[in-house]
């Protein structure tokens, strides 16, 4: 089921009675989610991503705009008639019911021609449980399950009705690091097996990047960029997106463009043809540095070495620079490179495709020719 959002806006009245400031949690969303894809809604806390999910689900009514599932407009349809499955952040499993009863709960609500017999319900519930691999735990209560198992039950409960759309609110945030890794692969697998269009919300960029077919990066209720994860990572449209994606985070310097040359302080970094003179932010991915063993004056970024962290496959060079916006900068380089830790001053060459330049006022990307 394809999902289309048109001018979707949600405003909340201000908390404070004196000031009539509205909070715009979701601001004019326009995008289309293709059928059968896994979409990650990504943004920092409080950016309106959960609100967006609740709008899709029907638990909240939009202030303006329309939502379509396929060809049907569902904007004013209550949640129960939209055919959505929802996995809550805290799972919201009914604690007094067993796993089986929890999974069967949505089926027992069906009325009229959709009504199922007890046997059919049990069968469907078992099917959903098998899909998420919890069919051995059917008689337990949620309190007797681990976080990961509860999460699976919640997914099974959302899937058992074969919803048109599956929505997940921070599905992994309550799991420990190891389980998170495992569960996110699981989610990806389940989504592929069922082919249900799935939207999930997360503040963890790694999580979103790793399993989504498409990510939507949000900030303060406004969509910053939509696209395939790798594309968004490689071509961020503004400084926020560049900073938000990637671990370790991107290194941001203040720089200047003078006569089609990019300068960071007194270091000439690279040629930028056809760009007018201006002050800019220069963002460089950690993998965009090439370590120089010898001093050569041309096209180098000079930094003060602070530490070298060995991480096995790569090494991470921690350094400082007076024009750096971050506290320290990190360069990830191959572990075969020898870095003399006794040196104070080190220098890097830059990989051109890992360097992004943003206008200092608008923070919008300046594209190079």
């Amino acid at each position: 089921m394809k999902i289309v959002l048109e001018n979707l806006t949600k405003k909340f009245p201000g908390r404070n009675k004196k000031s009539k400031d509205e909070v715009i949690a979701v601001n004019n969303f326009n995008f289309e989610i293709p059928d059968g894809k896994l979409i990650g809604l990504l943004g920092p806390s409080g950016c309106g991503k959960s609100t967006a999910l609740n709008l899709l689900c029907g638990l909240l009514a939009p202030t303006e705009g329309k939502i379509y599932f396929g060809e049907d407009e569902v904007t004013n349809l209550p949640a129960e008639n939209r055919g959505v499955g929802f996995v809550f952040q805290n799972y919201a499993l009914y604690p007094h019911l067993t796993v089986l009863q929890n999974i069967m709960f949505p089926l027992e609500n069906l009325k009229g021609k959709d009504k199922l017999t007890k046997e059919q319900m049990r069968e469907k519930a078992l099917e959903a449980a098998k899909l998420v691999q919890i069919d051995e735990l059917m008689d337990r209560k949620p309190g007797q399950l681990s976080g990961g198992q509860q999460q699976r039950v919640a997914i099974a409960r959302a899937l058992v009705k074969m919803p048109r759309v599956l929505l997940m609110d921070e599905p992994l945030s309550n799991l420990d690091a190891r389980l998170r890794l495992q569960t996110r692969e699981e989610i990806s697998r389940i989504q592929k097996e069922t082919g249900i269009t799935t939207v999930f919300v997360t503040h963890d960029q790694e999580e979103a990047m790793s399993i989504s077919d498409m990510i939507v990066v949000m900030k303060d209720g406004v969509i910053q960029q939509i696209g395939e994860p790798q594309k968004v990572y490689d071509e961020p449209e503004n400084l926020f997106v560049a900073k938000f994606l990637g671990t370790p985070p991107i290194n941001v310097f203040t720089g200047e463009i003078k006569e089609e040359k990019l300068w960071i302080g007194s270091d000439f970094c690279m040629d930028v043809e056809g760009v007018r003179n201006q002050e800019v932010y220069v963002a460089i991915r950690p993998e965009g540095f090439v370590f120089c063993q010898e001093e050569t004056p041309e096209r180098k970024l000079h930094c003060c070495l602070q530490a070298v962290e060995v991480m096995g496959r790569d090494i991470s060079v921690v350094a400082t620079h007076p024009l750096l916006e971050n506290v320290v900068m990190r360069a990830i380089i191959s572990s075969e490179t020898k870095v003399d830790t006794g040196r104070k001053e080190i220098s890097f060459e830059l990989k051109k495709n890992k360097v992004f330049i943003f206008n200092k006022e608008t923070e919008e990307r300046i594209y190079l020719k």
């Binding site: 638990l59 805290n90 949505p106 009705k161």
Partner: protein, 296 residues
């Protein structure tokens, strides 16, 4: 480990001592009294040991009347008051405006003196040579003739007693139930909504189990409280409850000890033991039933 245990007992000692002196000892004493036949308070003597006291009490028409009254009171007021309190609490948690005002209004009976409330009920229900009482005036308006609720037929008196009891116990139940309802995580309702659960089913399948511990607590204390009813009847019908035919079991015990027919501690003890056994049995049944239905 052992040292810890000794410490534990030591901490419990003061409470255990008090309970022993003021609860366990009197309980045993009452049991002994109830078995001593023809016990004389003044001379502290008795003729023999046996079940005569029980037999006397169980054949006493006043006791049987009190037993019947108490049972009717329990059977009517406990389910009704709990049910109505639940309805009102549901209403209270679903309104936004004036919620605090209604909370206060519903809580007022709790902080009002029983006897004062009894007086108000007298004014509402009592028929005097000068006035038929407010309720009768209302009844007359819809074409029903006056009934004397305080000195009249048995069912009318029982009605007032039940009405009064329900009204008095309601605020506490509302207090407990509103907080129980408010503590149900709203996520469960969202989840139920997404799954297309009807409101009735949500209530039965989610709300009720979630508040079942509080509900169960109210039912148990309600039973015990109703079995021990006495002051309510006094507030409405005066101290001579036997004459009014509205005596309760606790009232009977009191009368046997200090009333006009008083001075019979053996009979009073036997009646008290019977009451104790009834309350114990019903509470045990409650506990057994709750194991099946109450979710903690």
């Amino acid at each position: 480990m052992e040292k810890k245990e000794v410490k534990g007992w030591l901490y419990l000692l003061p409470a255990a001592l008090f309970l022993g002196v003021f609860l366990v000892y009197p309980l045993i004493d009452v049991l002994i009294y109830s078995l001593e036949e023809g016990y004389n308070f003044a001379s502290q003597t008795y003729f023999g040991v046996g079940l005569y006291n029980y037999s006397y009490v169980l054949h006493d028409p006043y006791f049987l009347q009190a037993l019947k009254n108490t049972f009717i009171l329990v059977i009517i007021t406990v389910p009704l008051s709990t049910g109505i309190a639940l309805l009102i609490s549901l209403g209270l948690v679903s309104i936004q405006k004036l919620r605090d005002l209604y909370h206060t209004l519903f809580f007022l009976p709790y902080v009002t003196n029983t006897l004062a409330v009894g007086l108000v009920f007298m004014i509402l229900f009592k028929k005097t040579p000068y006035s038929d009482g407010m309720i009768n005036l209302l009844l007359n308006m819809v074409g029903i003739s006056s009934v004397d609720f305080i000195d009249g037929p048995y069912w009318a008196k029982m009605f007032v007693l039940c009405f009064y009891t329900i009204w008095v116990v309601m605020p506490f139940k509302i207090l407990i139930l509103t907080s129980a309802l408010a503590s149900v995580n709203p996520l469960y309702y969202s989840a139920a909504k997404v799954d297309g659960t009807s409101r009735f089913r949500t209530f039965v399948k989610i709300t009720l189990p979630m508040i079942s511990p509080s509900l169960f607590y109210l039912i148990i204390t309600g039973f015990i409280g109703a079995f021990k009813a006495y002051s309510d009847a006094v507030a409405l019908f005066g101290t001579d409850l036997n004459a009014a035919g509205m005596n309760t079991m606790v009232g009977y015990v009191y009368d046997m000890l200090y009333g006009n027919s008083g001075g019979y501690p053996s009979y009073a003890s036997a009646a008290a033991m019977i009451l104790f056994m009834i309350v114990l049995t019903i509470t045990c049944i409650n506990l057994l039933v709750s194991k099946k239905y109450v979710h903690y």
